[in-house]
């Protein structure tokens, strides 16, 4: 597939937003809100950042649409379409997150039950976002439980890293707890993403040129795809990079999304440096952009079997 940057930004931004909110809500559940005078201020600020991330993702998603003015229609087929469910889950999460943040601004006492709802919405949004990809059965690289686990863990990891960086700045008492969560989530995400890479490397495509045109002969070569200029089929489903470039992106994201942030987090926590922790988030986010690009590019669409030779 040819990765679309709108999708890359959408999934990484909302993932970080969901992760950050879940981290903040975790602190609230642990009784942080009333533990110190400035505690609610930190939750308020963190909620605002999470809201900004989710809004950024929402804006990015509009750039994916040919007809953004009709976007409201996309909520209608939630019975069958995971994309439609995602379209509903994202504003619901944002709305609940906004109310939760507003509740902390007003020092209200109903933020905890509201936070439960927002946390459920965040988890539902992870499910919907991942299922958009995992539910297409013939994109074998995506059609796996790993897609679900990876989207959730990567969102949590980037959210917790951001929470650690924010805590270093606004809530020092939480830094170590958040830091431990960020390290654990990033490590878990590294394991699960590596396992999915290993799975995808072993995949055997179910469709072949033989099943594509229905001729049972071991030797079939395309001589013409029917046109010499490009078409939607050659633009949308081919990333046009060499296998070597793809391998470089893979190592880049393994380094950028996991190894470097783990080192920076450990260093930042050890030296109590807010700058290093902030750098950890920036590096991890850039790494996640590469990870999402690779995730999209790696999927081999069976339609490509029909577009192997120009003439």
């Amino acid at each position: 597939m040819n990765p679309a940057f709108s999708v890359i930004f959408l999934t990484t931004l909302i993932g970080a937003g969901q992760g950050l909110f879940l981290a903040l809500f975790g602190a609230e559940v642990a009784g942080y809100a009333d533990s110190a005078p400035g505690a609610r201020g930190f939750l308020l600020m963190g909620g605002g950042v999470a809201l900004l991330l989710a809004a950024g993702g929402l804006v990015a998603s509009f750039f994916h649409l040919g007809r953004p003015e009709r976007a409201w229609r996309s909520a209608s087929m939630w019975r069958t379409s995971w994309l439609s469910r995602e379209v509903i889950a994202l504003p619901v999460f944002m709305g609940l997150l906004f109310l939760w943040t507003a509740g902390h601004a007003a020092a209200a006492d109903w933020t905890l039950p509201l936070g439960v709802l927002a946390a459920l919405a965040a988890l539902a949004l992870f499910l919907c976002t991942a299922m958009v990809y995992a539910s297409i059965r013939f994109l074998q690289e995506w059609a796996s439980t790993f897609t679900l686990v990876n989207y959730t863990l990567l969102g949590l990891a980037s959210g917790c890293t951001l929470a650690t960086a924010l805590a270093a700045w606004g809530a020092p008492s939480l830094v170590w707890a958040y830091g431990a969560c960020a390290l654990a989530c990033t490590l878990a995400a590294l394991v699960s993403r590596s396992l999915s890479l290993a799975r995808n490397a072993r995949l055997k495509p179910r469709s072949t040129v033989q099943t594509a045109i229905g001729i049972r002969h071991p030797q079939i070569a395309q001589r013409s795809m029917g046109f010499m200029g490009g078409s939607f089929n050659t633009r949308e489903f081919f990333h046009g990079r060499t296998p070597g470039a793809l391998r470089q992106v893979k190592w880049a994201f393994l380094l950028g999304a996991f190894v470097l942030p783990l080192c920076l987090l450990a260093l930042g926590l050890a030296s109590a440096s807010a700058g290093l922790l902030a750098l950890a988030f920036v590096v991890q986010y850039l790494g996640l952009l590469a990870e999402r690009w690779f995730f999209l590019a790696q999927a081999n669409h069976p339609q490509n079997l029909y577009y192997q030779a120009v003439s």
Binding site: S74, V87, I215, I220, M225, G226
Partner: protein
Amino acid sequence: MTQLALVIDLNVCVGCHACVTSCKQWNTSGSAGPLVDDLPYGKDPSGTFFNRVQTFEVGEYPHTQTVHFPKSCLHCEDPPCVPVCPTGASYKRKVDGIVLVDYDKCIGCKYCSWACPYGAREFDEDRKVMTKCTLCVDRVSDAALPAAERKPACVLACPSNARLFGDVHDPESGVSVAIRERGGYALMPEWNTRPANHYLPRRRTGMTIHAEDLERVDNPLKIDGKQPELPQQGAGREDYAT
């Protein structure tokens, strides 16, 4: 229930692209608006087509066969592109099983094209909506046309009659008989999309001639040399051949 579909005979397709151009002509002139042609006379032309003819070479030289392979939407009976549409713009008509896009509802998210294993859908870069083969729904259901012309443009254009059109759910229709008797098959059966369109395989055309086919071994002239009797002629025996 009716399921309209095409049956494409790979045995007689000569790869002339008449179906491609007639499809483009009919569908670009329709009420849904023109199919985009981007830089048609430029260096890198691109355009939206509902139908393509591809060419494959089967076997190893010199024992090869050239197979021309027309490819358009297969109007699956279980179309994976339809349930994924977030707006309901993609739908399968109950009345005749044609898979269509409502261009007024489509938001151009392209998700349906990801969900089609055959690459049958093409995004129109001008109208910014997803487009696909309509099986010439505006022809096949137009009662103002003579019955013989209520067929997709590609079917009418095909000079070698490689494209058959009809109801594959009617066991007595021409397409059903062709599928049944000539081993019609569906593409990528591994995904259970149950395409309505079928393809008829290539057939080996050849014959073996034995010596006795050229000269009858039981020719009576060879036995006794007598010529056969002349037919009896007369009233009531005008049929001289007997």
